[in-house]
Symmetry: C2
DNA sequence: TCATCCAGTTAACAACTGTTCTCCGTAATT
DNA sequence: AATTACGGAGAACAGTTGTTAACTGGATGA
């Protein structure tokens, strides 16, 4: 393994990343289906035609953004769910972890929330696929827990999807509160914590 | 009250509705932020400038679509939640009610799911407001149930938001399966039913 | 009946879009 | 040292966009 740099490839990756960053910034105030190719290149400072050296279309760029955005989400999902058992303290910690992730990568979270049901099919499918893999991973993690004794694989996957959806909904709430009043953040924390707690109670009594 | 027709106002309302319908149809394959004013008028068969007689901008039209779409959702939410107590049969019936609503108004459901986190602020706010009112209404409905004894108003609102979100998530799943394989619909029904059941179990043991 | 109103039309505007083709300079390869 | 590969620039294209202005004809109200 290991491929020595190559000045050329390094520069190409650099402009490619610049295009991705510029697009992500522009997408804070619009949807991908209205993002123009020229708009992106203008923001970066390269010629419009340079875009084609990296992406076939803005939809193609969107798919690349999905990988980048969910790569960062990946860590959050893992550590959130791993600690998301019945203990109230751990739930609270998981919610705060989501809040901190939104603080760190607001544009990524916004992009996923927006384009999950957005107007570009290929991007929707990419997000759905990634979230499906997340849910599967969460399922495997839940299966290790002694509380999962007697659960069918199907039921575990049902629960993991519920967790993933709840996680995204919470992240979206934190996102809306980013440039809002101070107390809003705490209100959302309390709301999300109780919702997670209720789900955990349902989980504990699932086999009654 | 009662305002006799008025040929003029009737015609105006007719073209206005035609604009809304055309826009909704066009929005099945794109987001509101990329919907062009000329695109809509072309689909209806009127001059571009006629658009201004009805809406200030496409964002303005979007807000009008929110009212129309959630007017139809209103009935669904009410009947869904009213019957969404602990009984498994009733939960199952509620899920099927969602499925049937998606069959009846797929474009409306798609619009709400897409623009809830979409690129147009005024539309996002309109949807958030309407969903907030729904959640409040659900809360009032839940409060009537004997099972709500001992619950704080805050906790009831927490639960109602969970219900509303779950409802929309389910509707979105049914939507994706509309032009898909036959078995998918049934699979989603089983998934959503079990998720609702788990939430109901959590609800029943909330005060433990 | 006549003057007013007003939804919709026509024409034109500058600005913008995605895409093609040709070219340039330089890193990579031989 | 000579040749190739390739990321990016430049110019031009046909087509689109939102918005303005002045106008038309039929319903409305006096």
């Amino acid at each position: 393994m290991s491929h020595t740099a190559g000045i050329r490839q390094v520069q190409k990756q650099k402009t490619r990343q610049a295009l991705l960053d510029a697009a992500l910034a522009l997408l804070e105030e619009q949807s991908l289906s209205s993002l123009g190719l020229r708009e992106v290149t203008r923001a970066v400072g390269v010629a419009p035609t340079a875009f084609y050296r990296h992406f076939r279309s803005t939809a193609d760029l969107g798919v690349a953004l999905v990988d980048e955005a969910l790569g960062s989400l990946h860590r959050m999902v893992r550590s959130t769910v791993t600690t998301a058992d019945s203990s109230d303290e751990r739930i609270h910690r998981a919610v705060e972890l989501i809040a901190r992730h939104v603080d760190a990568y607001p544009a990524h979270v916004r992009f996923i929330a927006r384009e999950r049901h957005g107007g570009v099919q290929s991007v929707r499918e990419a997000i759905r696929g990634q979230l499906g893999r997340f849910a599967e991973e969460v399922r495997a993690e839940l299966a290790k827990d002694p509380e999962a004794r007697g659960w069918s694989e199907d039921d575990l996957l049902m629960l993991s999807h519920l967790y993933v959806d709840q996680m995204l909904a919470t992240a979206s709430l934190f996102l809306e509160a980013l440039d809002g009043p101070e107390g809003e953040r705490e209100r959302i924390t309390r709301l999300a914590t109780r919702q997670m707690r209720l789900i955990s109670k349902g989980r504990r009594h699932w086999l009654d």
